[in-house]
């Protein structure tokens, strides 16, 4: 094994084994309890609001390419898009999905088509529903603001990896009176969302989105594994900090192995 990666490999294997264990339990009906996540609960209300007002839902599943580290966040955003598209199909609400990454565009289009097909509304899918706006950050923000203003979107849902354009989109949504639900694991943008959005999903809450909304047992099982991973991390931090405080660096040396 490559030097300096043994402990990492051990944790990696244990973590995945925990995930497999909980997924197996979940398949036979032993689901862990999941706390309420207000931001995700608000999605149904947001779409309901858009339906009543007869105005579109504007959805942005993140802005980065699918071959970057942000891909996991964008996949989380696409999982929620699947749920949103099913609801807009069910209630005949207009949907506008804005894409900034070329590699995400075909995926988002397929998700919307699949969702509408499952609701028996395949004929309602329009090309304008999923649009590639621009991969240039502020051109994308400008185009997004333009859609929000010209179509007077009633609800804006933004879940995925975002950068500086997040502030513009969220504030722009507030200026047209839209309800905003936003979520990202990118720490630089979380404060903007928390300050300016009606509902915010912070950090790994966006990864819980797909599980929470779909009620898929396997994905819910994964949440338990994530929580165990966090508990182990906390234990290591606390024990390691105490050990280092008293001059013992063996935990650090072991983690570096």
């Amino acid at each position: 094994m490559v030097a300096g990666k043994q402990t990492t490999f051990l944790f990696f294997v244990l973590f995945l084994a925990t995930a497999v264990y909980y997924m197996t339990r979940a398949k036979v009906g032993k689901l862990p309890a999941v706390r309420r996540i207000p931001g995700l609960d608000a999605i149904d209300e947001a779409i309901g609001r858009a339906t009543e007002l007869g105005r579109p839902v504007f959805y942005v599943p993140g802005r980065t390419e699918i071959n970057t580290a942000g891909a996991a966040q964008n996949i989380a955003g696409l999982e929620v898009l699947s749920h949103v598209a099913k609801l807009t199909a069910r209630y005949d609400t207009e949907l506008r999905v804005a894409i900034a990454a070329a590699s995400v565009y075909p995926v988002a289009e397929a998700i919307v088509q699949q969702s509408y097909l499952e609701e028996g509304k395949a004929d309602k899918v329009k090309p304008e529903m999923v649009q590639f706006l621009s991969n240039e950050q502020f051109a994308f923000a400008a185009a997004g603001l333009s859609i929000m203003n010209t179509e007077r979107t009633a609800s804006v849902i933004m879940i995925g990896e975002f950068q500086a354009e997040s502030m513009m989109l969220v504030e722009g949504a507030a200026q047209v009176g839209a309800v905003t639900i936003s979520g990202t694991a990118r720490t630089a943008q979380i404060p903007f969302f928390v300050a300016a959005s009606d509902y915010t999903l912070i950090g790994e809450e966006i990864f819980a989105g797909g599980a929470y909304l779909s009620k898929d047992p396997i994905r819910i099982g994964n949440l338990a594994a994530q929580d165990w991973g966090k508990l182990v991390s906390m234990a290591i931090i606390i024990i390691g900090s105490l050990m280092v405080t008293f001059g013992n660096k063996s935990m650090i040396n072991w983690l570096k192995k």
């Binding site: 390419e65 970057t68 580290a69 240039e136 950050q137 720490t187 630089a188 943008q189």
Partner: protein, 283 residues
């Protein structure tokens, strides 16, 4: 109270105009507010100072046009500092718009007497973000067989002996998003143990401080334009960043004032609502 309500009802365009005037004024009449050099900037300077004449440093232009005014001054002053010490600089970009900054920078230094291919070189842009960085780190010539001018990189003196990222004495990356410090730490620092210093836009500064504290970064210019100004002051090369600091200071002050007034208004309105509720119950 009335003044606060007037502020709350004011058309936001008046606020924009006020902000514009406050930011433009010190650009025309500088105030000369003193600038302190922070520890993270000093660490970055020390990392460049450790390089000996002839050492090769990689300078990565990973910034977009939007964040360019924040980050480009950082890249320019670090480059100037390195070149002034006789360090040889290899430029590369993993963001398409970064390539234009890289090419302009090379042309600028050529006009100042630096020799292309010996003192400085621009390899070009590689698409693929983190996968491109990973591939580059493992084999430079596989990703850049030729430089931005179309010649094989092996024909340049500066590229002799450079096979992987480990062959650089220092890597400095300037970013406004992705790829950023995290990608370089994952693909280069962790694998090849090369010292990495990063400059980022101010909004990305806080999220990269953990990497500085853990030693994965040898320096961090995390304050955007302010870090560039600190660097310029510290190495005695004042430039565009230093000139813009007064405007930034007043702009910050204005935003803080808006926040404070907005909160005072909120408190007043909350008091009035509570009073109305109590009054309603009594009635």
């Amino acid at each position: 109270m009335n003044a606060l309500k007037w502020f709350g009802d004011l058309d936001k365009r008046w606020l924009y105009l006020l902000l514009l005037l406050v930011v433009v004024f010190p650009l025309l009449r500088p105030l000369g507010i003193p600038i302190d050099v922070t520890a993270s900037t000093s660490q970055f300077i020390a990392a460049v100072d450790k390089l000996a004449p002839g050492d090769r440093m990689l300078l990565v232009f990973d910034y977009s046009i939007g964040g360019g005014p924040d980050v480009d001054p950082q890249a320019q002053v670090v480059l100037a500092h390195a070149l002034s010490r006789g360090v040889r600089v290899v430029e590369v970009a993993f963001v398409d718009t970064g390539l234009n900054y890289a090419v302009k920078t090379v042309e600028l230094w050529e006009s100042k007497g630096k020799v292309y291919g010996t003192d400085i070189i621009c390899l070009g842009y590689a698409t693929g973000v983190e996968t491109a960085i990973s591939a580059f780190a493992q084999n430079i010539s596989a990703v850049f067989p030729t430089d931005v001018r179309g010649k094989p990189i092996g024909s340049y003196p500066i590229m002799q002996g450079l096979k992987t990222a480990a062959d650089f004495k220092l890597i400095t990356e300037f970013a406004t998003g992705i790829p950023g410090p995290a990608e370089w730490i994952r693909q280069v620092v962790t694998r090849f143990k090369v010292p990495l210093g990063c400059g980022v836009v101010a909004v990305m500064g806080p999220q990269n401080v953990p990497y500085l504290q853990s030693g994965q970064l040898v320096g961090l210019l995390g304050g955007g334009l302010k870090s560039a100004a600190e660097y310029e002051i510290a190495v005695k090369m004042p430039g565009a960043a230093t000139a813009a600091m007064d405007a930034q200071s007043l702009g910050h002050l204005m935003i803080v004032l808006f926040v404070i007034l907005g909160n005072l208004l909120f408190l007043v309105e909350r008091q009035e609502r509570r009073a109305a509720k109590v009054g309603g119950v009594r009635a």
